[in-house]
């Protein structure tokens, strides 16, 4: 295994520019706020859904396919890779959708990667993915900039949630669940491209219901065609403008994500300190910060007593 993979956020802006930087054209991601077929249809064409779920370390992970059927033949014919690196799983799920479609412009590098790994068995495809400099490099460029903390090699502790990404996509008329931790793709029955928005909903619902509501957090991202394309086709100028604004915001957020803020933080702090000293409010200012930290700690005590998940400060 060459090099480390850092964790990236499960965010539509991150994923959209991740695939963009891999060379893919005209694909974006939309967060599915509701499990609603109509909502999904409005984003058509929908290429697939990435399902992220987080559960606390120590929870039993359901490893058996309790819904759907293992399709071992499929794992030869479609791009299915065993997951080798935890931190790579977001990108791996995304590729499971991208590399299984014939109707996308993947760009030269991903096309080459797809051809290169076509004949490989699933474990080797996973290895090829984790060894790909291109894919790893683009993936890591979206990791949060933390110059002191090597998140890539940190092992999961009691404090972490474990998280897992699964991709759902229709291939050759069948709705597949592609989970790198499973031995093969899982079939959920017949499904055309047009039916995908409908048929995926109950599948996702059943998946979510497997876990106690209080112990799981999940996130659904639909991979769709660049929404500006259809908006332009039907003459919806407002939609195009809205999507352009959204892109600007995503670009801005991604710039901040990869930026090392230590220098900026120092400059701001210096001036904040100077101003508090001038006003004679320095001690009060520090005291307020201590109080906030105390309040958070008290809140955590209370919340942990109620056995719920704790939000970050």
């Amino acid at each position: 295994m060459s090099g480390g993979w850092n964790t990236i956020e499960s965010d539509a802006g991150v994923f959209t520019y991740l695939v963009d930087n891999l060379g893919v054209k005209n694909v974006q991601f939309e967060e599915m706020i509701a499990l609603d077929a109509d909502y999904l249809k409005q984003q058509s064409p929908v290429y697939g859904v990435i399902f992220l779920f987080k559960y606390p370390v120590g929870q039993k992970k359901t490893d058996e396919a309790v819904d759907g059927q293992y399709d071992f033949v499929a794992s030869e014919n479609i791009f299915f890779a065993n997951q080798t690196i935890q931190n790579a799983c977001a990108t791996q799920a995304i590729l499971s959708v991208l590399l299984n479609r014939e109707d996308l412009d993947l760009g030269d590098q991903l096309r080459e990667f797809k051809e290169f790994t076509q004949a490989f068995p699933a474990e080797l495809r996973g290895e090829a993915l984790s060894n790909s400099e291109l894919i790893r490099g683009v993936h890591n460029s979206f990791a949060r900039s933390s110059p002191f903390i090597d998140e890539g090699t940190r092992a999961a502790t009691e404090d972490d949630d474990l998280y897992h990404f699964i991709a759902y996509t229709p291939i050759n008329g069948i709705l597949y669940e592609i989970d790198g931790l499973q031995p093969s793709p899982i079939s959920h029955g017949r499904c055309t491209e047009e039916e995908f928005s409908e048929k995926i909903i109950p599948v996702l619902q059943r998946r979510i219901e497997r876990y106690p509501a209080t112990e799981i957090r999940f996130n659904l991202l639909a991979m769709v065609q660049d929404l500006r394309i259809r908006a332009a086709e039907i003459g919806d100028v407002e939609m195009v403008a809205r999507e352009d604004e959204k892109r600007k915001m995503w670009i801005w957020e991604n710039e901040l994500r990869r930026h090392n803020f230590v220098g900026f933080a120092h400059e701001v702090l210096k001036r904040a300190v100077a101003s508090k000293l001038t006003d004679g409010k320095y001690d009060e200012w520090i005291g307020e910060a201590k109080q906030k930290a105390q309040d958070r700690m008290d809140e955590r005590k209370k919340v942990r007593g109620e056995k719920e998940d704790i939000a970050s400060p």
Binding site: D159, E255, G263
Partner: protein, 317 residues
């Protein structure tokens, strides 16, 4: 073996484990650490206080940095703490027998915290600036005065105390969930907590502080800040107002606030020296490792520089 003065010694009792229950033993005892000149190792020992023999009943060899004491403040019936190791799942429970400062028998006073802190410092083994060691009491007497400043720093690595346990098994459950945390950084998120509420940098920069600061800022200061931001987000030929707006948005962004949290964690996790050096923030000699909150030390160092500037009548932006 010739008698050796311990590095630290306090009145403490032992606890035993019975399944999931922790039972404290009434016997008055002494917990102490010393450096054995024969094997040149750090020893963590317990013996009954009335014992005639010099040899301890329990004697653990400690690899510097491998062990730490974590206090459990959720227990109302005593001041319980546990010795845990990074290298193994061994755990040893003790309870403070030093004079309680409160009628609440589970309450940890600032002085009690100080003991935990000093034990943890001693568990790190010999340090470069060992000035702290000279202060520590010798013999089996508790030293009442340690000099005016009681050093409140949190015990290393502990999670914030959990709520009152319902019973012994809850007590253990909470204790275990607390002590299974390695003392390392959590990476950007808010998971790392110390026993005492120490400040996080993002608490120092709420909009009530930054808004007036930004409003009053001169263009020189604004340009300093701008030069520390990714140039891709700055509009070309930006006016002063536009630049201030960019700064304002960044200060409010989740990405910046996450990075402040991560920076606070990094400072507390041994990064104070490296980060200060790279920023040119001058720390007082011996300041690192005193056990005071590293974030506070960092901010105080910045404060000293700003005070000097003010005294020297240099321009403050």
């Amino acid at each position: 073996m010739a008698a050796v003065a311990p590095l630290i010694s306090i009145k403490a009792g032992k606890c035993t484990q019975n399944g999931t229950n922790i039972l404290s033993q009434a016997e008055p005892g002494l917990l102490y650490l010393y450096h054995n000149p024969d094997d040149e190792l750090l020893h963590f020992c317990w013996k009954p206080r009335g014992a005639v023999e010099p040899a301890p009943e329990d004697d653990l060899i400690i690899i510097p940095g491998d062990a730490r004491i974590i206090k459990y403040t959720g227990c109302t019936t005593g001041r319980v703490m546990v010795l845990k190791f990074s290298s193994s799942s061994q755990r040893h429970f003790f309870w403070l027998q030093t004079k309680a400062e409160s009628t609440d028998s589970g309450h940890w006073s600032a002085r009690d915290d100080g003991w935990v802190h000093r034990i943890n410092a001693a568990l790190q083994g010999p340090q470069d600036d060992d000035e702290e060691m000279g202060d520590i009491g010798l013999g089996s007497e508790e030293v009442e005065e340690e000099g005016s400043a009681s050093r409140r720093g949190g015990a290393d690595g502990g999670r914030a105390p959990v709520s009152q346990p319902q019973g012994q098994s809850d007590f253990l459950q909470n204790l275990i969930s607390q002590i299974q945390l390695p003392g390392g950084a959590r990476g950007g998120g808010g998971g790392y907590q110390q026993q005492e509420p120490t400040i996080s940098l993002h608490d120092l920069l709420p909009s009530t502080t930054t808004a007036p600061l930004l409003a009053a800022m001169t263009s020189g200061a604004v340009d300093d800040l701008i030069s520390n931001l990714p140039q891709g987000i700055i509009p070309r030929n930006a006016t002063l107002a536009q630049k201030k707006e960019v700064i304002r948005k960044v200060l409010h962004s989740p990405q910046f606030n996450q990075s402040l949290i991560g920076l606070s964690v990094a400072l507390r996790d041994g990064g104070l020296r490296g980060i200060s050096d790279s920023l040119g923030v001058r720390l007082a000699p011996g300041e690192v490792g005193t056990g005071s909150d590293q974030v506070t030390i960092f901010v105080e160092a910045i404060k000293r520089e700003e005070e000097k500037k003010a005294d020297g009548n240099m321009d403050i932006d």
